[in-house]
Amino acid sequence: MYLKELCELDGVSGAENAVRSFITDKIKPYADSITVDAIGNIIALKKGKSSDKKVMLSAHTDEVGFIISGITDKGFLEFKTVGGIDTRVIISKRVRIGKNKLSGVIAMKAIHLQDKSERGKVPKVSSLYIDIGAKSREEAEEHVSLGDYAVFDADYELYGDTVKSKAIDDRAGCAILIELIKKDVQYDTYFCFMAQEEVGLRGAKIAVARVKPDIALVVEATTCADVSGAEEKDYVTSLGKGAAVSFADRSTIVREDFYRNLLRVASEEKISVQTKMALAGGNDAGAIHLAVGGIKCASVSVPCRYIHSPCGIAAVSDIEAVYRLADAFLNRIDEFLE
């Protein structure tokens, strides 16, 4: 699985080029056709034994990050967040900016200069800036333009069963799809690597209108809050307890038959699964299930602590479980199409 390579690539929403090139290169030997559409989705068709049905597997290529929105006289960069990022996690973090991967640090006024009321509050993004060491606007402009993207500059590390990285959401899904396209499929299967999920399921909306599948499975990463200070009822998912199957989130209520079938198949195949225990978040299923007259759609997710931060943490065994469940879904597709 190419998880490390994929996580290390930069691909903030709208600038997924590097991720797209990597994936296209890896799947080329296995796909019967590859289309890159106007918004930057990769739609790879793997022909099945039968063309009676169309199946969609979906993972998104983009990650949360930043976009440069201004340069000050002193050469500091103003920025906006792209996708849902908690301001509290970004202060003092390293970022890479633009195609040349210029190093910068997200910074704020030092503690000595903050008054009491400021110290107790979460700062606004507009009060933060990126310091690239430039001494003037002119010097900064030599390296950076407005509209350049910045991404968390964080290493991928593996400790035993645990992966620490940026962008596990959703390069884990991309890595799984790259493995699955190597296998034979029953029906024509569209492996879709979606752009711009993090800014509102935009890529998926377009891809699904093109593919018009009979059924779709979204392979994702999801919130995991099994952490110090949280009560078990608020965990949403737990690390190492298997693939997370959602009955609903804020964007989708999954058909009961689809949800129960996923749990049943997991049990029969001895794949460890957990029910996602909250209606938190949303993903491309939200766009897919409502499209072109309505599509059967569910999601299977990798639990990821500290999601949307430079240091997401996921369990290798959970990623393996999601892979196996998505694989079982394809192998036993007729049971889901009934």
Partner: protein
Amino acid sequence: MEMKAITQCWGPSGREGKISELIKSEAEKYADEVYTDALGNLIAHKKGSEKKIMLAAHMDEIGVVVTYIDENGFLRFSNIGGVYIKRLLNRRVEFANGVIGVIDTESDNKEMKLSKMFIDIGASTKAEAESKVSVGDMAVFVGDYIETDSVIISKALDNRIGCAALLEVMERASGDNDVYFCFTAQEEVGLRGAKAVAYSVAPEYALAVDVTDTGDTPSADKMAVKLGGGAAVKVMDRSVICNADVRSLLIELAKRDGIPYQLEVMTDGGTDAGAIHTSRDGVKTGGVSIPTRYIHSPSEMASKADYNAAVKLLTAFCEYKF
């Protein structure tokens, strides 16, 4: 169909199987074809050679979903649709299998947060609770059906009263229009069913048939709609500005047939009209609403006269030669 049966039937958003079956059994008597789609919408088609018209009434109701079961058998839950969190204490809920629970809260919950509330189904252990209910199971609010000379009181008048109206119109309406009676799923969580069915039906004209708020209770927020004031012809709500031709036609038909009507501008909340009017190339969409007090409570109240007026107006619309 009996109003009691259709309002008391179980069917939270996304789990409309039971209510869909109930409506289907009646719709099959009058429609040429009745079918469901991937979202769970129920579509009853009365074929005709003239204009393609869609009437949409959502059949889902608000409810709750179990997110966690603790070691003592208490359930934690999340809301399905627009539930007034601050009014949940000691409400009864019912699961699909008939299990009843009571909502209460941890004692320290001044802000009335949902995360501190729980459902008690009378189980004393996790295992006992799990033998009755699973994480992911949904429940609806219990609210008995009461009928007086003038009004109906029940849970889920929003929008089973609209579904009842569609069934009655289906039975009565004649004429040559090609009419799709759509009982939509998942309206309460964001007009989701209507979005899918508007695409698949691709109508030329559409009406959303739903309940609307009233402004006639003591110190109510300002709103012109009154209980007993007639069928409400929708001008706009938060999701739609109704097509002017459709609105004018509804008014014209009401005047022609002497049907009591009032105009509706609802500033809170949207309806399926919001999803339908932007579908495909755009759909000429309006709405006929039934004024209802205490919407999203177990004791919603509507007027029988308003309901009858809405049925007459919708029938006239379906029969109109465009």
